[in-house]
Symmetry: C2
Subunit: 153 residues, 2 copies
Amino acid sequence: MDKIDRKIVNLLQQNARASLKDLSKECFISSPAIAARITKLERAGIITGYHSSINMEQIGFHVRAFIQVQLEPRQKQEFYPYIQSIPNVIECNCVTGDYSEIMEVVFPSTTNLDDFINTIQQRFGKTSTQIVFSTSVEHRGVELQAPEQENKE
Amino acid sequence: MDKIDRKIVNLLQQNARASLKDLSKECFISSPAIAARITKLERAGIITGYHSSINMEQIGFHVRAFIQVQLEPRQKQEFYPYIQSIPNVIECNCVTGDYSEIMEVVFPSTTNLDDFINTIQQRFGKTSTQIVFSTSVEHRGVELQAPEQENKE
DNA sequence: GATGAAACAGCCGAGCT
DNA sequence: AGCTCGGCTGTTTCATC
């Protein structure tokens, strides 16, 4: 993980469809060298995938919300497979605090959201919901900078 | 936005580096036709970008958290440019409820997180923080299915 | 990691349905 | 009008240094 690797990661976070040639120009090394580094980063589990971002509004998902759920520890083994199978759940984390799970969801309308919340409450427990008005930072990666100490991979 | 467009969007959400040829095989149409459809989807603002996902742990960001902030309405014009400039903030939304902003952040350690929270509290207002233990659904897109009514673009 | 050749994918035109 | 099929261009990959 050197300076060039970080540059490659940063560039791919900005545009995952960038060609090896473009990357090679930016990094001042040859395209085969870029290809080898990308493979290495993928195999090391640093780069975990390439995804396109979609404008949710444009495809009919007009309501975005955060739903927090109070979960008994033993309910997790039922909860996780369930929410993983719901495509509307775009992120879910187990967190500290009164509510053990915080998930981000998208739905076409508040009616659909309400249906989902009712299902969750019946099957699992108390929830707290915050509906999103606007997004000032769209989900993004972190820009890598030179660390104080190089990690030899 | 027909069945093939939805298939292309779904495939690109799974693997944004898929070649036109691969996509053409999956969709049973020629690669030029795929290229034209992708361009159309980009111009229509449905596909908004291509990003690589990074394993935050692997690159030294061991602490992930949600921070909620109580903000006076007039503070927004100062708050938004500020949090946009902090690379550790990977998402930020304005939401309903007691806390007007909910943001997702990553830091190398809890010390760095604490420093950030202190800065936010001094500059803006009360906060509530939930640290992430584990992630059961990594941030993902929604899978598109046939809607009841076709949207002619 | 660089170079050059070969394989491959992407692009633009013509012709077709 | 949109799709497919051809050839040309540019990109990726592999062998060698």
